[in-house]
Symmetry: C2
Subunit: 140 residues, 2 copies
């Protein structure tokens, strides 16, 4: 039950961009050197983040990446889903109502997987990059 490095590196990198927000682009090299990530691996993550519309890029010398909107407007869920796809604790939990296990015993556990998924989503969808910058926890 672990997040892959994609999610972890990705969130970390995005926090980095957030801390620089409004101060021009940061290059992949800067980020990966700071955190000891592999350059080309980071590149792939940023490619996905860009496709998801979370960052903008600037090519060429002095180029790099920038957040595409305010840190308070990007939440961790956006980042993780861009990099890892939707949260899916067990296969069946994301299927539609007609999925075969609906009639079998499997269904006794299905609600459980859905609840776990929902609780994860609930955390990551209510935490913005700005919250992380300010080291804020979710008030509960």
């Amino acid at each position: 039950m672990r997040l892959s490095t994609k999610g972890r590196y990705g969130v970390l990198a995005m926090v980095e961009l957030a801390l620089h927000y409004g101060q021009g682009p940061i290059s992949i090299k800067e980020i990966s050197e700071k955190h000891n990530f592999s350059d080309s691996y980071m590149e792939q993550l940023f490619s996905a983040l860009k496709n998801a519309g979370l960052v903008r890029s600037q090519r060429g010398a002095h180029g790099g990446y920038l957040l595409s909107r305010d840190p308070s407007d990007i939440n961790v869920g956006d980042i993780i889903r861009a990099l890892e796809g939707p949260i899916e604790v067990a296969e069946c939990a994301n299927k539609n109502e007609n999925y075969e296990c609906i009639k079998s015993l499997d269904c006794l556990t299905r609600g459980l997987w859905e609840d776990i998924r929902d609780s994860i989503n609930n955390v990551i969808d209510h935490r913005s990059l700005r919250d992380l910058m300010e080291n804020k926890s979710l008030e509960r």
Copy 2:
């Protein structure tokens, strides 16, 4: 962010035992045939469940496994942790306070991983086998 088959098969198998509670042992064969699991794989899971004290076994003909206590007294968290170890979303989230990342930027994300972990544990620790049998959701 997926549970392994260990966790999924394991919970399912335990629900099966729960449905039979008080009616003698069920063999691995019965369970694995019903759900199309591999016999020997199931065997390994039950070995772990037994070590964790969640089931008792009865060897020989007409033997099998039984819950070691009432279904309402075994929760999903017990089962998943017995089979997969403790929930650990990111490495650092389960380290102690002195872990090195405490001073680095990593810490801005650490609370996040901990919150995700806690929210998962919160779900699985408040759902008993009896709840599953009765298809009860967590009231929220």
